[in-house]
Amino acid sequence: MSLRLGRRLNIRTLVYVAGEAIPFFWPMRTFIHHNPLYGLEHLKFEQAVAEGEKLFHGRGYLDRAQYQRFLEKGSIEVDALVAQVSRFLAAQPAVEGLDLHALLMALLTRSDNAQEAPPLLADAADVHAVLNGAALPERRVDDAALAAIVTAEARPDRPLYASIDALFGTGIGKTLDELVIKSCLDFFDEGQSVWRMPGRSQGLFRAWSAVARRNLRLFIRGLHIKRILAVDETPEGVISYVMTELGVPEDAWMDYFTAELTRLHGWAGFIRWRTGAKRHYWSQRYPADLVDYLAIRLVLGLALLREHAQRRKTPADVEALAAFIDGQPGEAYLRRELHGGHVLPALAHAVEDALDSRSAARIAKCLPRYLAHERDEEARRIAARLRRLAAVAGQGEALRRLPSSAIARLLDTLARFEDEEGVIWLKAQEAHYMKRLLRGIDLAVMPPREKRPFAQAMFCIDVRSERIRRHLEKVGDYQTFGIAGFFGIPVGFIGLEKGSETHLCPVVVAPKNLVVELDIARSADQEAFFSVLEHVFHELKASVLSPYITVEAIGLLFGLDMFGKSLAPLAYNRWRSRLHPDKPDSRLLLDKLSREQAESIIRSLQRAMIVKAVVREQGIQREAITDEIIRDLRETALGNREGQTELARRFGLDATAEARLIGRLRKVYRIDAGYAQIQLERLGRIGFTLDEQVNYVSVALRSIGLTEGFSRFVLVTGHGSQSENNPYESALDCGACGGNHGLVNARVLAQIANKPTVRARLREQGIDIDDNTWFVPALHNTTTDELKLHDLDLLPPSHLVYLDRLGNGLQAASRLCAAERLPMLEPTACKHVPADAFRCAQRNASDWSQVRPEWGLSRNAAFVIGRRDLTERLDLDGRSFLQSYDYRLDPKGRLLENILAGPLVVGQWINMEHYFSTVDNERYGSGSKVYHNVAGRFGVMTGNLSDLRTGLPAQTVLKDGRPYHEPMRLLTVIEAPFEHARQAIERVVKVKTLVRNEWVRMVLADPETGTFHLYEDGGWRALAAGVLGNDIKELAA
């Protein structure tokens, strides 16, 4: 059987859309911070949180006790809570005799009641009876109500086995997940495992089916896999077959797929990422997508369902399940209680015995007794909660006097309130932070500086830059700027000792230009080069080969050893390559190659390949291969000449052998005109045109507002972290550089900005960079706070005399910064003396057992876009992203749009990653590092077999089991006239959605009117700067 084309494509798309709710999982060597609910950003924040609860079973807010602790600490405004409770109550019916406002405030601030699931059997009359010491009124729970309770949980979009598990305790879901994880580990292994799954190049589904058909373990279990797989060869066909067999209605397929895919959302997210990562070596070699993955899950699920149906007579399709629930609602209800973990402990045995007997009479006898007990229990529990709450609020007496109808209203109101409680706390916490930040912001325009500063320094917008900038500004005449750490230049980078390309830019951009690092010291090691190439030919497919060949070609032409010891696949042996500080001096190839240069490179490569081929294929010594032989063979292989070649003549090859060699030259060694054209195109990616160079520097400088008054030194500071034995190291690196160190981008910008030709063109645009200004790349090590200058060998002699002063300033800032930061990391171990703190931080960076080398971006809370003057006098506590921006240089708002679309979006991902990893570290975060095991060299699992852990580990966001990070939505402040900023937001659809759905809290600070404009509840509201001090209710209401 084979599906129609349209139908097959339709199923693929259903799976694609169904998987969109699942966040990407990037391999950990480049950890990308992202919003775990990214796929739900089209919804309002609160709605998405509720949906996330359904899909990922993750909480979206902290629990009440934790918010109460924040309240005690003073980081939540009581006034803001009061205002929000009033607002909530305005839409609720009154309950006569009760002060609901006081009651709800007591619930929020003083109650220790945990939130609970709503009652299923007890009603307000029952609670009323308990409160008044009376017996529960007579009432029979009918069959339809019981069936409804069970059916509500066996929704059509829930995997059928999950519903069966919940009623029969079959554990199919767990078995299924384990089987799937094992298959994934086998298939996706990137060289960690000794055993290699056969047939992986055919793709996930085909490789798996081939193994599954023969898998003894599955066979012994009596599974029906073979029969199911025989139905259709394609994964789409199998999906269609299984869904039809299960009897899931077609309009529920997409939701059913989503539920199936979210069960192991780490693995599914990894496959999603991998499918789109066309350059990823393993993805090219062993393709897989969600359709494959879903088909495997469905096949195994159906097989397991059928196995249980045979052995234990459980329903095997939707219809049979519905028939069971409707036919035996009492039994179904008792099963739900027992296997869903709801059963009353006192009656657990009785229920289990009755169900085990499978005797209708015994079940019928057990049921009424159980229902009566359960209802009584629920009523008492609710009554007790109400009593406790009323007592705390001083309304115990009033509660007792309430009639049953008022109790009903009260319970409804409480339930609705508890639904909204999380966001009420969140807004009150945000209001507190917002008030503090906005109060400190200075909208006054500063007079221009009288003389240029000693040095200017660009830092990444990263929250960790704020500290070091603050200290640097204090120790001397330094002016600092914030700019996304890729400095606006998307770089595809091929470094020394690397055989693969790294993207140094936000992951929403694919770099078009390639930057190649050249070793200026070493000479070519021909032998190493050839052995590497040999390896390439025998191990890799041609499609993977090409990028490495071009790198090699460059190396060959320039007489450089580009490969060193490692080749792309070997590079994966390490978590990720780091920029070693003791690396040899290098230069970046930034200019475009000329056509002649590119062709010459390809010719060199071809010649090298021909020599290799002749030596290998014909066993002829290298010394005997003359230039003429090479030229002949090359021209013949390229189809430029015919007739006998010099090689054949000299070594007596017959025509067949010669033709065979030429054939192999074309096919295996790629001496082929078409392939040369492709190589030429690839070489064309290397470097930037002069226009591109000028444009990148111009945009970078204009967007941070630095277009005049250039200092002698302009530091371009990237950042990176340094730690040992830490799979999450990349999470501490630069998000704007795709989870890598930012030094390369800094070097690129500096190298370009120092070029006289570029400066001449910039001058035409009105950006006059002083002749004695020099751009110096630097790296901020965020683990040690060290600031290290690079490419100093290029520094003009005139600058050398100032270098000492600069070095001293940087070192002072580093030490002060470490001293400020260390007490939070190690409250007891480190002294506050700056030099000691600095040493202490350096020790952390090289300590193998250190689970928390630095706090990274934890506690991030704000994103300020505007002049540094706004915040220069504030201690922002390392919590704020700072993007320099001067709207006066951006009349059309284009620069602002770019800042919003790139840096702000990256900031919001980081913020949401921290938010959700904190509010539910088990579901959205990755739990404790202590239990982590590296899986397949790309992710971590908890224990030996689990979902891939996504998000941040407990050590990054929690301290002693409690939130260190304060989870709040990113408070974004843009300094610009209201209309200017509002229109820019409107023009960037992605950001407009984030603002409107309140994934970020957006405030526009208008310096021309001195007014703040806050987006809330679907509109902009103006807040005069003066009211911030005394009227916080405004902000939270």
């Binding site: 084309l5 349209g6 992605k990």
Partner: protein, 114 residues
Amino acid sequence: MKNLNFSPLKKLEIIVEGAHQEFATDLLDRAGVTGYTIVNNLSGKGRHGFHEGHLMFNEDATLIMIIVAVPEELVKPILEGYAPFFGKHSGVVFISDILVTRLVKFTGAGEQAG
């Protein structure tokens, strides 16, 4: 001009967000389409308001257009394929009649690799 042969085909112009480019082209590949053209950074107005086409630092958020010429019998399967996607996302497909002179380029029949 006598020796020119005009063959009728259908042109699809598929407009989607850049983030979905892989999905959209993969579906065309699987439908057996032999080639397509992609136009990046579209500007324009739709149900979600105005889309800017010149964002430098976020390619996922800009709109792209995929232009593809297919034989008529492929139109319905392709549209059936995209249907669940456009049920959830912004974007459109325009379909029009076109003529081409070198049919072999669009059907893949007898085409050389490379």
